[in-house]
Structure formats: C-alpha cells, structure tokens
Subunit: 260 residues, 2 copies
Amino acid sequence: MKFNIAIIGTGNVAWHLSSALENAGHVITEIYGRDLEKAEKIASRLYGTEAQDHLDFTESQANLYVMAVSDQAIGELAEAIILPEESMLLHTSGNMALDILSYSSADYTGILYPLQSFTKGREIGFEEVPFLLETMESKALRILKKLCESLSSPYYVVPSKERRAIHVAAVFASNFTNHLIGISESIIKRQGLEFDMLKPLIIEQVNKTLQLGAKAAQTGPAKREDFDTLENHHDFLHYNAQLAEIYRLISQDIIDSNQL
Amino acid sequence: MKFNIAIIGTGNVAWHLSSALENAGHVITEIYGRDLEKAEKIASRLYGTEAQDHLDFTESQANLYVMAVSDQAIGELAEAIILPEESMLLHTSGNMALDILSYSSADYTGILYPLQSFTKGREIGFEEVPFLLETMESKALRILKKLCESLSSPYYVVPSKERRAIHVAAVFASNFTNHLIGISESIIKRQGLEFDMLKPLIIEQVNKTLQLGAKAAQTGPAKREDFDTLENHHDFLHYNAQLAEIYRLISQDIIDSNQL
C-alpha cells in the first residue's frame, strides 16, 4: 500500500523520515516549513516534492500528514492546519498524548513515535528504528502498521501511559549513558590523557550488556562491594561535589541491586 | 622477542591473557592456581603448559611472571612466590600501586593493566585491549612494551596516580552505564513491555557518542531544559525514591553542563 504523504517540519526527524518514506515507495507531496528555505532544502533531495510555508493543504494530494516538529509546536499547528477530507494527521513525539491532535480537522489521528536518536548527516537504516504507535481507530492502526512494514521497521502499539514509561527508560539508556561517558571523558582529559584509551572498553561493555543483560554484565567496585576502592574513588572526585554525589548514588544503587 | 611466561591466577584475565600470549608466540610454561583443577583447565587449552598449586618457581623456565588475581591476593602472593634469578613480576590490577610488589624476590616489577572487561566465554581481540603500563626500570619498560606489541595491543605508560583517574573514568563509562541500562530495562519490564525495543537506540547512541563526543551527542529533556518533561518523569519514578533522585541528579548535571 503506497501513500501520498506531506511532512510538517524540517528538523532531523523530518529529514530522515522523508527520505526513508520515499525510498519505501511512498510519494512525499509537500514539505511544510515556517522557514521556506529549510523546507526547500529537504524537498530538493526528494522526487517532485513541493516546499511550502503555509498550512493550507486543501489542494494537496496527500492523505497522510506527518508532523515532525517540537513538542511545543504540535498543538498550535494541529489546530491551524487545513486538511482535505479523509486525511490522517500524525505526530512523532514521545511525550505528547494523542488528544493534542483532537482540535485538528483530520478525520483520523495517530502517533508514530520513532524510538531512535536522529542526527543530521548520520545515515540510519529504518530497520533499526522501532516505532511506537497509538491511535483510537482500527482503520488508522492498519495504516500505521502498513507504514512501518513498508519501512521494514519494528513497531509496538502502546498507549500514552506506557509511552511515557518507555520515554523515561530511553532517557536512562541513551541521554544519561551519554552524559556519564561525557563525565568519564572529562576525568580523563583533566589528567591530560587521551580518551581513546577508554573506547574499546565502552564498546565491549555495551555489547556485553545487550547480549547478557545488565544484571549479568555488571562488574566493578560497587558490584564487588569493594568499599576501599569506592571510598578511594569518592575522594578522588573531591574537586566536584556533584560528580562525587553521582558516584556515590549510582554505586549505592548497584550495591542495593546486589540484594535482589 | 619471545618470552617464557608463567601465569599466576585462574580467573577471566588469566584465561584470556594466557591464550593471547601463546597465540602471539610466547611460551606459557606454568599456570598457578590455589585450586589445581582450575589451573589444569586453563593449561589443557595451551601447548605444553604445566598446572601447579605451589608457589615455588625455582625450576621454572619462565622469565616473566604475570599475576592475574584479585586485588586482595596480590600482596600476599608477591611475598610468597619463590622466583628464579633475573625474573620480572607483573600484576594486572587497575587499583593497586606498583610498590605492593616490592617485597617480592623479583629483580624487576611492573604493572600490565588491561583496560578491558573480560568475561569467560566471550572472545576478545587483543588489538581491542589497551594496556596501562608502569615500572621503575627502563629495561622492564622495554619488556612491557614488547609484550604489548606482540599482542598488537595499544599501550599507555601511566603512573599510579593517573591510573586511578583512568579507573574512576572507566567506572563511569562502563560499570555505571551498564547499571543505567539495567535501570532502563527494569522500567520497561515493570510495564510488561519488551526491552528489545530500546536496543537499536542504545547502539546508535553509543556509536554517536564515541564518534561525535558526548557534548555534541547529548539530547533529551535536560539538554533542552524542558522542565515540564523533567518534572513529569520525576513524578513517574515516585515508586522508587532512589531512582527518582538519580534522575534528578544526572539531569541537573546535564543542565549545569549546558552552561559550559
């Protein structure tokens, strides 16, 4: 099943999703951007796609409208957008509930949230982009599933409450691990050493974590309850009280997990 | 340059290092284990290696003695081991200083610390095992470097103080990231959902972090200073005060980093 799709937004998700949808055989009819130049930049990479900076889609051939914009902009755009009949409006946010689309003129609404981190310039295969889906209508759900299947993307149908849990989990697994690696880098560089020395360990650790599970893959002084080393490390971090407290708190949580 | 090497210990490091050293063309003359059966298990995988459960090496052909034992055991074993003349004794710990070997009868002492996480049954290429080296004698340093070169392993000569910093950094980058992924898994499973959905994100994030650096790769609500989402997530974690506090503290540290 091939769709005519309009993309609302010009950020990283819009950039990656529009190419992937076109490669999957769909037609990207329009790209909307408040900044027309940005919309034109994306449209120029696609086949026969129009760029536009107004929200009137009454003349559009699209039946699917995918909003890939900031959380703050979704509600306002959903109200302002003028859609043809029998159209379906989607947002791609992990945070926003489905009912933020309820003031739109769309006949169907849904959520198509890619559980992945997009960066302009980094290619990513959509078979590595799981989608979380939500909608109230069974016809709309069929369309969302077809869309994911056309991208070879895994998908999970989850209500908003579970989507929130997944988003919290993603913050721990992605945003926070990134920050901890950043802390690690700052400690190494403070000594004038090369961070490269830690990269093989980081790669092996994450492979092991994903293969064996975090419980089996846990090592280190907190796991061993080696309190001498824990105290020694905590002292080492005296130059930054917040870092020392992060060290103490995560170590305590590892020690507590040993009892489970 | 080929060495005759005796391995003291039967854990994961002993297991991986003995095979790698033999593959690099060295001869593993003996494996020492307090538990002879364990030593025999490792020796049986090698060519002409003896297993022994006593510390008298006066008849050994080895000139290098590599201790791959727990931190607590190093000092005692170093004192007890009986070595032939012109022998060099190494330990492989990230935590222990060089002088813990000073009561040994070895002519040379040094540290050969593999900055990697070993697991029995997981193969690892030693070109992915950076070694941190330390010794007081220039002849011994040449031997340590030759040893690393024979394994195609990168190496860094670092004094004990810097080795401590690297160990703290490794705890953040490896032990703590593993635990945070474990927290993430617990949040997902608490909802009865499949953790597999998060794996592509974790893989892409760590690749991005290592390629772009953590600063450039940081995303998420704390980076965006999206206080509504931060509060929402913090509320979500009400069922575990320690998790909520970890969420708050790391988010605060990300926010503080935005100013740098």
